[in-house]
Chain length 336, copies 2
DNA sequence: ACTTGGCACTCAGGAACATAGAGTGCCAGC
DNA sequence: GCTGGCACTCTATGTTCCTGAGTGCCAAGT
């Protein structure tokens, strides 16, 4: 149906259109890609490709432009991910290595990715639910007030002030803290609720109300999905590209929920996900594509990151950058 | 020099231009603002106002548009801050009251402000340097590794992992923790360095290297100006307004340093600061104005917030919103 | 059965030109 | 010092025309 040459033509159309941002005609194409055939032949191939829905012409007498379907084929079968240059790799490494804490890692990552791809970068904070408890701390603040601090193995810290139902001495707090840590150390956050369920029963009668209060706040913290926070950077890279509905894209970027869905479900570890134009789950983003990947330390995917740009983007390069950054961030997180 | 009526004309020009986004002519103006004089008279006044630099015409046969100087006069002498409606106040209150922690307060505030003003909102995190230490926690993570957690009276939490020069038992850590808290409780963050300066001397010889390590990390945390983080929201509100250089504005918004300068120095408590067009310290923002105010709990200003929009903005309404939000955030912070 | 050159056709985008209307500046009269 | 009248200036808009890139199709060539 689509022989070798037609695929080559499609590839050429995509590449030229991406680099020039102008509909590409048969003549220019035949010349620049020395396909060894005449423009007329290319025209015939283009007609077929158009009929099949891979390319289209903006108006009757213009060159061709890839459709979403065309980009899809290009990404799936016609292109190879382009690795970063050695210099770029070094730059990433040093830039990320300078981070002082988790917040800093995420901030640096998102900026780095935006700069590298010249597009909008999106990074999700390492998910709480997939990480494990490293330590729980109870800090007395006042007679009936303590601060609950939860530290995870990814370096993330969550804190909440807890109002206690009664005055509790430091020693009882200390006991509770020890108990909590004994049960929860290394526990996956998703398993925390079951793990602490029977904890009050193992306490003397008088400590139970206090424990219950603290536990309910602890569980609340986990449920709050504070973990699913997503940040972005590089919005300026969108300006000047009128092929995307700027306003709608900016609106989408400020909607956490939309962003989350954009980054997609966790896929195969370190597999790149590409969503092209109308494949996107949000109608405001039909002029844009998303390239995303999971990242994490070791084998478990902690969260996802990616970039968003016009459908007409350089997929091989973008995919290379996303993959590389995801890997490096994973390393950094594993190392710290 | 500028009699009452000329000022009225200027006011009318600003108001009309803000609401229509089109140069305003003498005729329309005379009608809509029943000034009691004829268009010809208005024209004369306009000529004077133009000569003085308060208004200008985009091209010879068009209406007039206020200059930055004109807006300045308008803000300073011709307008009154417009208070929010009762409904809006209630909405603010309930929306902010739902915040669970400091991070949430700031996030909600910035969104609220963006929505309220339909412009870009900018909020600075409560400054560390002006708040005080509520608690310092040292959490053992491994034999030679502890986590240092700093909690301030504004609910802010900073954490750092500290690599210790030697293995240190839990009891020694506990002792150090007690000592730290005894010295630092309630201490202004700015005064922390002096306060801990002599602390190692009060320890047994063998504890000093460890203490020194921990203290140096603690001081680093304070210096890192992590506190001066600024976030924004509502960038989508910029789209569609071509009077501002969109790209440049977006770039500015992602530069923490620029944002900080935009919000301005701490001024009189709760005084509104307005920077109009070319008054801005950053050339990319000459088409925009900033309305900012300090906020804090009680008397001390903790940080600043504001909005950024096209020079042609509704100053009275914007100023009202910024002032109101600043106050409410202050209350929330004081209350928690 | 493809490929190719030739050719007529289409149409977006730009240039040139005309038109309408909003707004101005100025002046003479009240 | 205000006002109506009037000539003037431009922008914005619409019309027309033209050019050129690009197409589709056909008939001839391999």
């Amino acid at each position: 149906m689509l022989d070798e040459r037609k695929l080559a033509v499609l590839r050429a159309v995509v590449e030229d259109y991406v680099s020039t941002n102008e509909p590409v005609g048969s003549k220019a194409l035949a010349e620049r890609h020395n396909l060894g055939v005449s423009p007329a032949t290319v025209r015939n191939d283009m007609a077929v490709l158009e009929e099949q829905g891979y390319i289209t012409q903006p108006h009757t007498s213009a060159g061709r432009v890839p459709t979403d379907k065309g980009y899809r084929l290009f990404v799936d079968r016609l292109s190879q991910i382009k690795p970063l240059s050695a210099a770029e790799r070094r730059a990433i490494e040093t830039f990320l290595a300078g981070a002082v804490d988790l917040d800093d890692v995420v901030t640096r990552t998102v900026r780095l990715l935006a700069q590298l791809t010249r597009q909008v970068a999106v990074v999700q904070y390492p998910s709480l639910t997939r990480s494990t408890v490293r330590h729980v701390e109870l800090v007395p603040l006042a007679e009936r007030r303590i601060m609950l601090v939860l530290i995870t193995n990814t370096g993330r810290v969550e804190q909440r002030v807890v109002e206690l139902p009664e005055v509790v001495g430091d020693d009882r707090i200390a006991h509770l803290r020890a108990l909590l840590n004994a049960s929860l150390d290394g526990c996956g956050l998703g398993r925390v609720p079951e793990t602490v369920a029977d904890l009050p029963d193992r306490l003397p009668e008088e400590d139970r109300p206090v424990a219950a209060t603290i536990l309910s706040v602890l569980l609340e913290t986990l449920v709050d999905r504070h973990d699913e926070k997503v940040i972005f950077a590089g919005a300026a890279n969108l300006a000047g590209d009128f092929s995307v509905g700027l306003r709608e894209v900016l609106e989408a970027l400020e909607e956490q929920v939309v962003l989350m869905r954009l980054l997609g479900e966790a896929g195969d570890h370190s597999a790149l996900m590409v969503r092209i134009g109308s494949e996107n789950p949000y109608s405001g983003l039909h002029g844009t594509s998303i390239v995303a990947a999971g990242y994490g330390s070791g084998d478990n995917e902690l969260a996802r990151l990616g970039v968003l740009g016009p459908t007409r983007m350089d997929y091989p390069v973008t995919m290379g950058a996303v993959r590389a950054v995801a890997r490096y961030v994973g390393q950094i997180l594993a190392g710290s």
